[in-house]
Symmetry: C2
Subunit: 276 residues, 2 copies
């Protein structure tokens, strides 16, 4: 007979975008306590190198481990794309990223086998989605595309109207030409631009958001390893950020669906470069 | 009889934007050697808190001091706006920011006394331009406005066409209503969007770019303190960045007018918070 594990789940992101993943986790696992860390002092990760993102990810993970987490969710697509192997090899708890679950959902959704992936320059450059998709089904045609302006648009709340529509049209033209039937929104900010993206690509393209798929994988993993918490009242969560929390408080409602009012600022050292 | 000082001028910025200031310095002071540091691992500063920006600025200054600079130019508007008093109070060399020179140029340009300032959220929130402008002429009406999307637009090269024009129109409407005759481009990235900004505001508004004004102040300061270098061949410059230099190499031409091909990556510790 397996027992219960009341330790929290750790979730980190480069900033506020990972709250879309946290939201899906809270819905799928209402009895699990979460500790969320947003590295707002060094956001964004998507335009930075793999080396630097790996170093930041390591420091984020160490902070969460010190808070006794039982499992780590890397909610940031860029960090999942470039730092996951390093984190899985070095951390003493299970680590779940958002790439594998997103790829799994995309493979389930596509009929034509023509799949698009959009993400930050860091995510796209890594080829992580391409690799994960082809590992599951090697006859897919994968079209990858970096859309760097989508993150600031979502952060600044320019999610509706003419500007995001124009930017989406400029970015996504090549995916229309490629006649994809499924598009992975490979960045936690992109679901906020879903309307503009859908309007450009039309109803024949299924948009895949990794958040729900990731929550499902986390639930399976906890169950498989006997790490689920006991059912009880809905759990309380802790929020930490590396810059002052004002902006995080302000925009949290847009990403989480509810406003965070009690994020705490913490100081993370820059850290040594990871061994190569 | 005063001698010459062959030590370099140190210039730091949050990333690549400060190259517009470096360009003006190179034109005004062709015999001066410069050491440029772009903190590309932690860019952008404009959406981060004053506390965090001050901490990063301190570390940047320490790196340049270790390279025996004779004067420090803070090329980043956000860092100038929030960290200059701290740097001036603690560094053993003269420190020149971009706010005071920009304010001086704007006061010289305005006829109506209605001046606009656009910048990052950090710069605008600090009120530094407003303060510098009113200190020079207290009957000015100053209209300040944060335009956070301009930085990613410039970084990504979306500087011409419909998207920057639409974004400029959305941001600058209130400045049109205020009938300003002078606008300070209070961020080193904004000169790249000059065309879109000018198109929205029309020819009656003078656009003030701090870069040239700053170079002039630096030249005056070097002369006044007997720190000018001896005239000779055009000087060579050194470039350092905190992330891998690929992106810096790529976009340098857009900001500097010539491509940097030899930026060196350096590691800066995150550092302790400055004393409050």
């Amino acid at each position: 007979m397996s027992g219960f594990d009341q330790r929290p789940i750790g979730v980190f992101d480069s900033g506020v975008g990972g709250l879309t993943v946290l939201k899906a986790l809270m819905e799928a696992l209402p009895h699990e306590r979460m500790v969320y860390l947003g590295d707002t002092a060094r956001v964004p990760y998507g335009t930075k190198s793999g080396e630097v993102v790996t170093r930041y990810s390591q420091k984020n993970a160490e902070f969460l481990l010190a808070r006794q987490i039982k499992l780590l969710v890397v909610a940031c697509n860029t960090a999942s794309a470039v730092a996951l192997p390093h984190l899985m090899a070095t951390l003493p708890v299970p680590v779940v990223g958002v790439i594998e679950p997103g790829a799994r959902a995309a493979v389930a959704a596509t009929r034509s086998g023509r799949v698009g992936v959009i993400g930050t320059p860091g995510t796209i450059k890594s080829g992580a989605y391409q690799k994960a998709l082809l590992a599951r089904r090697n006859d897919l045609t994968v079209h990858s595309l970096a859309c760097p302006l989508f993150v600031p648009l979502a952060e600044e709340g320019w999610t509706h109207g003419e500007v995001p529509r124009l930017v989406a049209r400029a970015y996504l033209g090549s995916l229309q030409d490629a006649r994809i039937d499924t598009l992975v929104l490979g960045c936690t900010h992109y679901p906020l631009l879903r309307e503009a993206i859908a309007e450009v690509l039309g109803p024949s393209v299924t948009l895949v958001d990794s958040a729900e798929a990731t929550a499902k994988v986390v639930a399976e993993r906890l169950a498989a390893e006997g790490l689920l918490a006991q059912r009880g009242d809905p759990a309380e969560h802790d929020y930490f950020v590396t810059d002052v929390p004002d902006h995080f408080h302000e925009v949290s409602a847009r990403f989480l669906g509810q406003k965070v009012t009690r994020a705490e600022q913490v100081d993370l050292p820059f850290g040594d470069p990871p061994a190569r």
